[in-house]
């Protein structure tokens, strides 16, 4: 029983990182932009939050709540800026989306790993960076709910960003499928020329969807740094792997934010399952870690087999739009 509870907890925490990443990417892809910079943006979100918290904490006498707020804003701003760079290149300068996204991933990984490893040194300190005060604020749980047996482990022992991710997913789902603006956004992603003809401001939609989407992605990096690794930094490339899983999750959830919630936890479950099956060799553990990707591939194939219009990727995904080219 305890093992199962622990597995569920591990799955939810793991799932939250990729949930943020894929929610952001869903919003971006709905505007027709395949942003392969998700890992880079998550990196930038993580390092911006960490840097913000670090500078505030090292100024002395940190207040946990303020520190949390600063790192949150820093992460949002950093990742939105990365999104702005991407959208400037792909929307205004009409650069190829795949190439720009991949470059953003290289750049973001570079920025994050560089500053993650040398922020302390550049600021004149020694050792590894650690922002324990801020991290504890992110991981605080509600006192009287914490002690209910089983239920609390299942539902209440997570940092608050876990719940926010679920809320964002529902809000985004409502926005995309139930509001006029969401309808317009989908129109832009399906066929920008038609959207343009009916007077939707295509460029504005693309920019906003990409920047806001990136900010949401960045929260995934922030959650990873503050909650998952408890306010430290490790140059082990985990964020990059999780970032690609987030891209996979977008396909798995067939571009629906609500599906992404359980999809994310399922991915976490699949990813950590090997830890809870006794007697696995290291080799078969590695094969178990392949499962999320294999499952995603099957969904991708299945969706293309069925050819149902509602389950396809946005039609103009990956294509630049230039009004004069029509």
């Amino acid at each position: 029983m305890d093992r199962i509870l622990m597995l569920i907890q591990a799955a939810v925490t793991f799932g939250t990182v990729i949930l943020y990443g894929s929610l952001g990417e869903i919003l971006t892809e709905k505007s027709g932009h395949l942003n392969l910079g998700v890992p880079g943006i998550m990196y930038i979100g993580g390092i911006s939050g960490l840097a913000g918290a670090y500078f505030y904490e090292s100024a002395g006498e940190p207040i946990a709540f303020v520190s949390m707020l600063i790192s949150l804003l820093a992460a949002l701003a950093g990742s939105a800026l990365a999104g702005l760079l991407y959208s400037f290149l792909t929307v205004t300068l009409r650069a190829n989306q795949n190439v720009t996204g991949l470059t953003l991933t290289i750049f973001g990984a570079g920025v994050a790993n560089f500053y993650g490893a040398s922020l302390m040194k550049l600021a004149g300190g020694v050792g590894q960076i650690s922002v324990s005060v801020t991290s504890s604020a992110y991981r605080a749980t509600i006192p009287f709910l914490r002690n209910i047996p089983v239920l609390s482990t299942l539902l209440f022992r997570y940092g608050w960003l876990v719940y926010v991710a679920v809320v964002i997913a529902f809000v985004m789902h409502h926005f995309i499928y139930k509001t006029r603006t969401g309808l317009n956004l989908r129109a832009v992603g399906e066929n920008p020329a038609t959207a343009d003809a009916v007077g939707i401001r295509v460029t504005r939609y693309k920019y906003l969807a990409t920047c806001i989407g990136s900010a949401v992605c960045g929260l995934g990096g922030l959650f990873y740094v503050m909650d998952y690794t408890k306010g430290t930094w490790a140059n082990d490339g985990t964020i990059e792997r999780l970032g690609w899983l987030a891209v996979a999750l977008v396909i798995f959830s067939i571009w629906r934010p609500r599906n992404a919630i359980w999809g994310a936890y399922l991915f976490g479950f699949l990813y950590w399952m090997y830890m809870y099956i006794s007697g696995l060799s290291r080799g078969s553990q590695e094969l178990f870690k392949m499962l999320p990707y294999v499952v995603t591939l099957m969904v991708l194939i299945f969706v293309s087999l069925r050819k149902k219009r509602e389950t396809q990727a946005p039609s103009s995904l990956g294509l630049s739009y230039f009004r004069e080219d029509r």
């Binding site: 795949n98 750049f107 790993n113 792997r241 080799g283 591939l297």
Partner: protein, 374 residues
């Protein structure tokens, strides 16, 4: 009825597609972009190290050119990056977004390593080195082609999105490699394959021109020329470009799109596999899940920026390797960590990507207060 005359609102910035751009102008734009990027990179390096940017760029230069050994090292890295770029060129020209080079190369690496291990000294088989090399070559090419053709099969039959498909295949290959490493682990407990056939050098590519990496460079140069000819002067190449321009046109012209997809991805995957052969047999002599080291992704940028011209690809690949080596050199000199090089490369790539816009479009700014009112 009289129409009220309305002031015509002129847009501040006007864009128009260029028909032709003089070569010198295109080069000038790109050179300006790289210069700007280097300037920005210098500011970044200055801000973190406080060093004179000029001396920093000097040590950057030394990263590649200081010794013959370094130059060959850079050439080897260029050859491998170029090779993967060459592999991607036909796929991209066909507008088939193969971003699965990482996986295809890795799968080639695995096949080649398998032949080296099972035909080598560890199990006492000790086949002649020449035979092993030949078998490695075949195995890696077949493996790469296989990994590449799977997404093409689905794309041809059910129009499954190839970008997402190939992306997933990368990570499946990476996990397979991690599995293979645990099976081939040697010595036991080291969590790595170790240098394969370290005593007998079975399956290692021999030296050429007295250089360890001579063969790697030679293979890449050969493929560069062959792919250039294939894309530009053969019927296959023509079909690829027609399919890339418009699938409807291709259909109308009687080209079997399905066939072109499969054939081209077989070639693309096979060349990726060959790059894997170059990595395992020619340079690393070992295999791990990180042996391709993201070069499968970097090569996408190389292939795209070069517009499928393999000779320009060589130049861009060399530029990237040069930057990478240089930035690592700076990082060592200033005792910074090597990720600084990714930042500088990122900045430069952003500028190169961005400047293509100014090569393709003409931007004219019209400021209202400069206009004469009639």
């Amino acid at each position: 009825m009289e129409h009220k005359s309305k002031a015509v609102r002129e847009p501040l910035i006007r864009l128009s597609r260029r028909d032709v751009i003089p070569l010198y102008q295109a080069i000038l734009i790109r050179a300006a972009a790289i210069l700007l990027a280097l300037l920005l990179g210098a500011i970044f390096i200055y801000s973190i190290s406080g060093l004179n940017p000029l001396s920093v760029y000097q040590s950057m230069f030394e990263g590649t050119f200081k010794t013959t050994r370094r130059m060959w090292d850079a050439l080897k890295d260029t050859a491998i990056l170029l090779m993967i770029g060459i592999a991607l060129a036909p796929a991209f020209k066909m507008r088939f977004w193969n971003i699965g080079a990482e996986g295809q190369v890795l799968f080639g690496c695995l096949a080649s390593a398998a032949v080296m291990i099972y035909g080598g000294e560890r199990f006492g088989v000790n086949l002649p080195s020449g035979v092993v090399i030949l078998l490695c070559l075949i195995a890696s090419v077949v493996a790469g082609a296989l990994w590449g053709v799977i997404p093409a099969l689905f794309k041809a039959k059910w129009k499954t999105n190839e970008t997402l498909f190939t992306l997933m295949m990368n990570y499946i290959a990476i996990q397979l490699a991690a599995y293979a490493v645990s099976v081939w682990e040697y010595p036991y407990g080291s969590n790595s394959v170790g240098v394969i056939n370290s005593g007998s050098h079975i399956g290692w590519l021999p030296t050429l021109f007295g250089q360890n990496y001579g063969f790697d460079v030679l293979i890449a140069v050969l493929c560069m020329v062959l792919m250039y000819v294939y894309l530009r002067y053969t019927k296959h190449g023509y079909e690829i470009s027609v399919v890339g321009e418009s699938e409807n046109t291709a259909r109308y012209a009687g080209i079997s799109i399905r066939k072109v997809f499969l054939r081209t991805m077989l070639i693309s995957g096979a060349v990726c596999g060959l790059a894997g052969f170059m990595i395992v047999n020619g340079t690393s002599h070992t295999v791990s899940s990180a042996v391709v080291d993201n070069r499968g992704f970097t090569a996408i940028i190389v292939a795209w920026l070069a517009k499928f011209n393999t000779f320009i690809m060589a130049a861009i690949a060399f530029l990237l390797v040069f930057l990478d080596k240089g930035a690592s050199q700076i990082a060592t000199d200033c005792q910074l960590n090597t990720h600084a090089s990714e930042i500088v490369s990122g900045i430069i790539l952003f500028f190169i990507i961005g400047c293509e816009f100014f090569v393709q479009y003409k931007v004219s700014v019209s400021l209202p207060f400069l206009k004469k009112k009639n």
